[in-house]
Amino acid sequence: MTEKLSNDDKSNSSPSGRLGGVILSDKTIARIELLKSRFPEGKKKSALLTILHEVQDENNDWLSVEAMDKVAEVLGILPIEVYEVVSFYSMYNQKPVGKYVFEFCRTSCCVTRGAEDLMDYTCKKLGVEMGEVTADGLFQVKGVECLGACGYAPMLQLGDFYQEFLTPEKMDALIEDCKAGKIQKLSAV
């Protein structure tokens, strides 16, 4: 399952994006103002990457065309300046994703400690191929590149946090925690 050559998730490179509305709470708007204040006058665009994270967090982990246009408006820049950034960085999603995305590190150090076996195990357990979302929309398994946890391999990123020193048993428990809605978000910490 992890053996495919094509490594590029082309889903993210489409410049067109999808429609899906946008929500910006007062809290996020206040946060955006704070982020903007950290950069000099005339250089507010610097806050773009951080703002996109906040907006994506509030909008089911993906960025619709409306969301990107809204960010452009808030920063006083052209929509294309937002689109080109969103399509460059792998953490921004331009289409809906599973509720719980298991982003396994598939790079060398993790492979030496069994990351490939664990990805296979997880895919099989959930009945999906790499990249696919389960029928109930709950889970998605992805392979990503080194996450800076090479000594704590095998590992994955789930939402805002890392899960390290994984084993099949730990995967089972993690899946159960997801189903029970027990996964913490950073904003709540």
């Binding site: 490594n7 000099p40 250089k43 994270h53 960085y89 953490m91 060398s108 492979v111 090479c150």
Partner: protein
């Protein structure tokens, strides 16, 4: 036990909070630096012999002295993008010692006469971003940041900002582009950031660990720092150890420890993970050449190899490697070098920003050819083809990512050509990805010899 500069207080409970950090002597270097002239601080750093810990090993004091004097608006940017496979030390440092980074940023900003500085952290480390954000707020609240710091007349604003998943943003000019809210496309150098950097102003970009060494140097003097280590490898360095060893983790070493001791002693890696023998090691992050076991503990000349910039690169690329970012990855004989080369090539293809054709196309070719070799579809001429592709990438690109993609391939072929040949000659055997787990290399060698004998 070797001397600890960065991790000295790592086990003090609560060291990540301002109060505890301050009690262990934290922020003293700022008080001292505020009474020194910028030139004096730069001189101390020069005397220390400190070299950049981000990978290139460029002398920090010298880099600082290049900062453009024509434009009075300077910036210091801390590179916390850490995404070189094998490297995870900066995350550890920032999680545990956020205030040491802030102290280093303030002291270094004083030396560089920078009044607006940033820490750029990779987007995946979002919880670390929050740790830093909180620590910066504490530093503001205690008068270490903002206007007229501790009545000195020196102003400094420091903020943390984040990326969003792009290895290339660790390259300093791509990082600056990204920090300006753009795609992470590296800039053509010259001009160097020290002349035209963030917002067009003179800018110094330094690694997290480099910045964290500065407070100690200011407090104890450059000469004391230079006494640790050997020759031009001064001070201590953090090594991120991973792969098939007993105790993966982050270790602070004096730059004079023998490689063998580092791998085998219980103080560090604790020896191999299982009873399977050591096969190879990538000693400085995925971009540096891989070393076969026989060149790891001893150089080609038969001398003991040390964890220093010089000893690690002894023999050049023919028989040496580089200490790079300190990402020390150990492979035992279950691991397949061809598979690993494919893994790294895929990484670089995935991470190429796509600006220059040799890198954009070349990394794709490297990935495709290593993939087909590893999966039993290789051809005899593929090994030479790989060699040819990597040679045409190296040196022909805007930024060093091209070289970083080429070097691992070149080194793998240089030291493990027989393994590539095995993949071409026994395609059925390599189709299962665990081929070396089931069949140790000794048996593989026997198979190869038998086939050769039959051909004669």
């Amino acid at each position: 036990m070797g001397k600890k500069i960065l991790l000295e207080h790592i086990n003090v409970p609560g060291i990540e909070t301002y109060e505890v950090y301050r009690k262990t002597g934290g922020y003293a270097s700022v008080e001292k630096a505020l009474k020194m002239t910028p030139t004096e601080i730069v001189e101390e750093v020069k005397k220390s012999g400190l070299r950049g810990r981000g990978g290139a090993g460029f002398p920090t004091g010298m880099k600082w002295s290049f900062i453009g004097k024509n434009n009075p608006t300077h910036h210091l940017v801390c590179n916390a993008d850490e995404s070189e496979p094998g490297t995870f030390k900066d995350r550890y440092l920032m999680e545990k010692l956020p205030h040491l980074l802030i102290e280093g940023m303030i002291t270094s900003s004083i030396a560089l006469e920078a009044h607006l500085s940033y820490i750029y952290i990779r987007g995946e480390y979002m919880w670390v971003y929050r740790i830093l954000e909180r620590a910066i707020n504490e530093a503001y609240a205690n008068g270490w940041l903002g206007k007229n710091i501790k009545g000195s007349g020196f102003d400094l604003d420091l903020h943390v900002t984040c990326g969003a998943g792009a290895y290339i943003c660790g390259e300093e000019t791509a990082l600056i582009e990204s920090l300006e809210g753009k795609r992470g496309n590296p800039r053509i150098k010259p001009p160097f950031p020290a002349v035209v950097g963030l917002y067009g102003n003179p800018t110094v970009v330094n690694n997290v660990e480099t910045i964290m060494d500065v407070p100690w140097i200011v407090m104890n003097g450059g000469e004391e720092f230079a006494k640790i280590g050997i020759g031009k490898s001064t001070g201590t360095k953090l090594i991120s150890a991973s792969g098939n060893i007993k105790k993966p983790g982050v270790y602070e070493i004096e730059l004079n420890v023998p490689v063998e001791e580092f791998v085998m002693s219980d103080e560090y890696c604790g020896g191999m993970q299982t009873d399977r023998p050591l096969k190879a090691c990538v000693p400085g992050g995925s971009s540096v050449p891989i070393l076969p076991a026989e060149l790891l503990f001893k150089t080609a000349k038969g001398e003991q190899r040390l964890m220093t910039y010089e000893s690690m690169s002894d023999g050049g690329f023919a028989t040496g490697s580089m200490i790079g970012s300190g990402g020390f990855i150990v492979y035992d004989d279950r691991q397949c070098i061809v598979r690993n080369t494919w893994n790294f090539s895929r990484f670089y293809h995935h991470e190429s920003c796509g600006q220059c054709s040799p890198c954009r196309e070349g990394t794709g070719w490297l990935e495709k050819v290593t993939w087909r070799l590893e999966h039993g579809f290789g051809r005899e001429e593929d090994i030479d083809l790989l060699w040819d592709i990597q040679r045409k990438i190296e040196g022909n690109t805007i930024c060093p990512l091209g070289d970083a993609a080429a070097w691992p391939v070149a080194a793998a072929i240089r030291h493990f050509r027989h393994e590539f040949e095995y993949h071409v000659r026994f395609p059925e055997k390599v189709k299962d990805r665990k081929h070396f787990e089931y069949e140790p290399w000794e048996k593989v060698k026997y198979l190869m010899a038998k086939q050769e004998a039959m051909a004669v």
